[in-house]
């Protein structure tokens, strides 16, 4: 199910819904798996009373991880060569996220065909929460 360079066109788009109504428990689950126990993500008392935010919010890396599923579902297993993002806005419990990969270029590096993708994840208000790029090996 890998992508073929010959079938990809600049501007091709792949989209996926990452999460609907993000739950605090999923954020806790990510804290446990990743080892990042920053109370800003799991401790409502600390985050509202000490840090001054309206509620806990997701780890940027949780959104990057969920966005990674959109990418690997598109390009196939073990195909990614680069993946990077900027965290442009916070993700809150209750958010619904949709993610898009857009083909920016299809090139060849060291004899291997690669697709370069623009990556963006937006919330239910259309605000971009993650913006970045990825690169993956594709078939001829």
């Amino acid at each position: 199910m890998a992508l073929s360079a010959s079938k990809l066109k600049v501007g091709d788009v792949h989209t996926a819904r990452l999460v609907e109504d993000l739950k605090r428990t999923q954020i806790v689950q990510y804290a446990g798996a990743s080892g990042d126990y920053n109370p800003l993500h799991t401790d409502e008392v600390f985050t509202t009373k000490v840090a001054g935010y309206p509620s806990v919010f997701a780890h940027g890396m949780l959104t990057m991880g969920m966005t990674g599923k959109m990418l690997t579902d598109y390009v196939g297993d073990a195909r990614l060569t680069k993946y990077g993002v900027r965290f442009t806005n916070q993700v809150w419990p209750g958010d619904t996220l949709d993610s898009t990969a857009t083909v920016k270029a299809v090139t060849e590096k060291d004899g291997v065909k690669v697709v370069e993708l623009d990556v963006a994840t937006v919330n239910q208000n259309g605000v971009v929460v993650v913006s970045g790029y990825a690169e993956a090996r594709v078939d001829d």
Partner: protein, 169 residues
């Protein structure tokens, strides 16, 4: 992040994949994964970040017998400005993750034993209407496998804000 011994294990990969909502069997089912191009279970693309579990000095994990800045009886267990190293958060403004970049030389699989070494990169500042003065700092982490081969190069950027960020509606 610095970890001398970061064993990549199937159960950890399973838990990590669940936490990011990824039910791809290549992360959990050895038989199904064998039939994929990966040839066996691999780790999801952002898994390397969980090497924090194996960093003895990681500041965002409560440590046995040591104070913790999260809430208990009081909203915070530490009165001074918390942070605890790395991109620690909390306090009036605190530290947040601004950027993360990965370059994959190959994908991780159960049985790999990694070392992670981090070196500091650039630092820079910027004024922001939403959060006041922002101080950015970059770090580059190299993950090497049991054979000393570089498998993942990661670049992270942390930001400390002068005050909590105003959320965009």
């Amino acid at each position: 992040m610095a970890a001398k011994h970061f064993p990549v294990e199937a159960s950890h990969i399973l838990m990590f994949a669940r936490s990011v909502g990824d039910d791809n069997p290549v992360y959990s089912d050895a038989e199904a994964a064998k039939k994929t191009e990966a040839g066996g279970i691999i780790a999801p693309p952002t898994f390397a970040q969980s090497g924090a579990q194996f960093d003895p000095d990681y500041g965002l994990r409560p440590k046995i017998g040591q104070p913790w800045f999260g809430s208990g009886k009081e909203p915070t267990g530490i009165k001074r400005e918390p942070g605890g190293g790395g991109r620690g958060g909390g306090g009036g403004g605190g530290g947040l993750h601004a950027e993360q970049h990965f370059e994959y030389h190959r994908h991780l699989k159960p049985g790999d034993v990694l070392t992670a070494t981090t070196s500091p990169g650039k630092t820079w500042e910027r004024e922001s209407a939403r959060a006041g003065k922002l101080v950015f700092s970059e770090s580059v982490t190299e993950y090497r496998d049991q054979n000393g081969e570089l498998v993942i190069t990661a670049r992270g950027v942390g930001v400390r804000t002068e005050r909590p960020i105003d959320a965009k509606s």
